[in-house]
Symmetry: C2
């Protein structure tokens, strides 16, 4: 395997291991445009499964989808002061709207006469254009809450990019809600954080810590940023989703007021929340191993692959007859099945390919199996295999898909538990970061100054203040000043 | 109705009638960005239904989805000569990647130091970036056919825009396929045209003419452009979908070769095909009437609305009990139902609202209905109503949804038939265009010169040469030169 694909183990080179999986399992690749990726069909089909599950969860919680322009007038950004500060440095800017033939014959050039009066920014997030629109939609408390989501592409001009984890263009969803009271907006912010945590744990099989960001790590324009943080196999944290309580900041910036039940005019309260194709990175790094990608069954585009092992066309036909019945029976249970009867590849090659691509269950049927009514069943997560009766296959596969999903979550949870430590001194903290990185719970004095010093010296950031944190008196590992609780530090993606 | 919404009839002002429906039925609205629209939740939910049906049709015909970068290097456009000529004049161009605070305190400005070495174009279509990618994916005949679709947003800098029909940014899907032979690529091009026609007729209830574009109207870079053309109620044609046979043009421009079964290297053959949010315009203009939007049941986000007619809270409760049972029974049949028990609006207001929004079936239940076990059933397409027994409701509604779908298609087909004429002289042709516009079948000499003259003088264009055209000798209505068949002219959106 390793040889065939020139593949690195996690131990050898974690970063290469990740890139290998992304590229060689046909998930994504770099494009000709710096920092932008091509999401390949296999990778995109996992993203479609994520989208479909999330979209249902959003709709079940009362949200509807809409679509807002991708281009945002430059002036909109300046309306919310901290928002523009947060995004100005990484914007793609449209300045012209026409190309023309170069007069000196140098191909096409930008037509200088087609300069826009006001430059347009490709959305790095849509609060501004959406709140400018909401002004026309919200007049009275009867128009609230307004619960809207958008599936869209986003551009943030990143200098260092990595497939899925950080790309100049990425795909995401962004919810933007409007409420009559602060309490309702906060409740929505928390509700959507819970939806994300539910999705991460029950679909992606990725355990997460739910928490609140420090003011320094807060979304530009938010009063509070909630997040879910996951732990990757190399001990680095990955922010997997955020949900922001925006207060009345954007309502004030875009003058969005409503008449309350009592007839009083007030600014509207807001939340926004999003997850992106970054989740693909979290998925890959949470479960995959040195044999390649591992996908939890609920998000696997192909849940079961069937490979025939045959000698000659005649035997293949007999096997295919049996397989087609099994395939049909599995599909009737809602299981996605691929029968790979390509004739120019050896079974061993196919085995390796599907193992590398993370298909949860592999079934092989050969000539002997025809006689004995058996099949070989292999599970990707444990890399174990067993022989079972064809008559028991459907029931077995159904149960196994559930079991694999649970096992992956359990394994990732155990890994997170093992990767979570407490540090009581700065020396201990730094030692952990170097020797056994992971989530480190430590006391912090609550100041941005200390947070930035620690980041500068160790590259570790405060991932969050956990929502279910227990209060505990202590001293800041850096300043020694008093602290009332531990926060979660880690180096992060 | 007319008053309440300041609504124009088709007769009074067709263009305003259309805009009124789009805006007041909450489908879309103009945004702060010139030429870009906001697709509102109700409009977007219709688009989602279209997407979902089309996506299934694409997958059922063997296609998979993927995602390619939205930003395309300027140089890519120049690689296919006619392609750049076709799109250069309407491109949004990204030239910079950073904003900064103005030194003179004038807010944020474009940072002149953040100029891109090569400008990036927001995709007006993706042939170039996709074929540049395919070069890495296609080596041998075993990699073919490659059948990929992308759902994406597109920007074409249009000077005159209309909601859904022509906007600077729009949503669409674009299929890009690669084949080993010319025959296979043409077969794919035709297959997807048939998929579009099937979708238009059986989902949108919009009859279409399938045909081939003249060379003048061909897609920039194609050898042949197939299209479906629909006829709107004002007698103007609307191109509802196109499917292009690209020959080896893009394979040559991006050097995409494959080794054939015989080991010979050859350029790959291609097709591309797309439909967009423009279909929303076709849907609206095909069926709607002076009372507002009409949506065919298969694409209606709400298929049945139930309105209670009550006197006091107690009666409402009794009605709600009955309604909830009916709602459940309908939903069990896969029918989407909305129960509107908002208490601050009169039933009459609700009736008008759902009529305007095109909900196919309305059920009203009042106090008398409780006693008699009846309900009032109204169908949007015919604006008729009847009283029926609650016990017969589910069966009745199921049948009615099918009937309405068929009726809308029949009505639109009759309208298209009535709006299709033959002209045998240029005088007759011009008279028809002025007095009773529609599809006009007329002889044409096959030259671009004549085509452009007619367009210049009458604003009518050749919509297509129908695929099932019968050969018929005649003389060009403009030049008098010999012609072997009639082509379809119309003024168009």
């Amino acid at each position: 395997m390793s040889k065939e694909f020139d593949f690195k183990s996690r131990e050898e080179d974690y970063s290469k291991w990740y890139n290998n999986i992304v590229e060689k399992a046909d998930l994504a690749e770099h494009s000709a445009v710096k920092g932008c990726m091509v999401i390949k069909p296999y990778g995109y089909s996992i993203w479609e499964k994520m989208q479909s599950a999330l979209d249902k969860m959003f709709k079940d919680t009362g949200h509807v989808n809409a679509y807002f322009p991708m281009l945002i007038p430059k002036s909109f950004f300046s309306k919310e002061a901290s928002h523009v500060a947060g995004f100005a440095k990484e914007c793609a800017i449209v300045t012209h709207y026409r190309l023309k033939n170069d007069e000196e014959g140098k191909g096409v050039v930008v037509d200088p006469n087609a300069r826009l009066e006001e430059e347009l920014i490709i959305r790095p997030t849509s609060e501004t254009i959406i709140w400018n629109t909401y002004r026309g939609w919200i007049k009275s408390y009867r128009d609230l809450p307004l619960l809207i989501n958008q599936w869209a592409n986003i551009v943030r001009w990143e200098m260092r990019t990595r497939l899925f984890l950080r790309t100049t263009e990425f795909l995401w969803q962004e919810g933007h809600t409007a409420h009559a009271t602060s309490e309702e907006a906060i409740a929505e912010t928390e509700k959507m954080l819970n939806v994300y945590a539910d999705f991460a744990e029950n679909w992606m099989a990725v355990p997460v810590i739910k928490g609140i960001k420090t003011s320094n790590e807060r979304f530009a324009g938010a009063l509070e940023t909630y997040c879910i943080e996951a732990l990757m196999q190399d001990g680095k944290a990955l922010q997997a989703g955020t949900s922001h309580f925006l207060g009345q900041n954007f309502a004030k910036a875009f003058d969005v007021k409503f008449a309350s039940r009592e007839g009083k005019l007030d600014y509207v309260w807001a939340s926004s929340w999003g997850v992106s194709t970054r989740l693909m990175g979290a998925l890959i790094m949470s479960h995959s191993d040195d044999a390649g990608l591992v996908i939890p069954p609920k998000l696997a585009p192909v849940q079961v692959v069937i490979v025939p092992i045959y000698n000659g066309e005649e035997q293949l036909q007999k096997i295919s007859e049996v397989v087609n019945k099994i395939k049909k029976a599995l599909e009737d249970k809602g299981i996605s099945v691929k029968y790979d009867d390509r004739d120019h590849l050896r079974p061993g090659f196919k085995f390796a390919e599907y193992e590398f691509k993370g298909v949860p269950i592999r079934i092989a049927i050969g000539g002997r199996d025809l006689e004995k009514g058996t099949a070989e069943l292999a599970r990707r997560d444990m890399k174990t295999k067993e022989n079972i009766l064809q008559s028991e296959l459907v029931q077995k596969v159904e149960g196994l898909l559930v079991e694999i999903q649970q096992n992956l979550f359990q394994r990732a949870s155990d890994r997170m538990k093992a990767g979570t430590q407490q540090a009581d001194s700065y020396a201990e903290f730094k030692k952990m970061l170097d020797e056994k990185p992971g989530f480190i719970f430590a006391h912090w004095d609550g100041t941005t100054e200390t947070e930035l010093k620690i980041k500068e010296e160790t590259k570790a950031t405060i991932r969050c203040i956990p929502l279910d944190n227990k209060k505990e008196e202590g001293k800041c590992i850096y300043s020694g000043k008093p602290s009332v609780q531990r926060v979660v530090f880690a180096r992060a993606y």
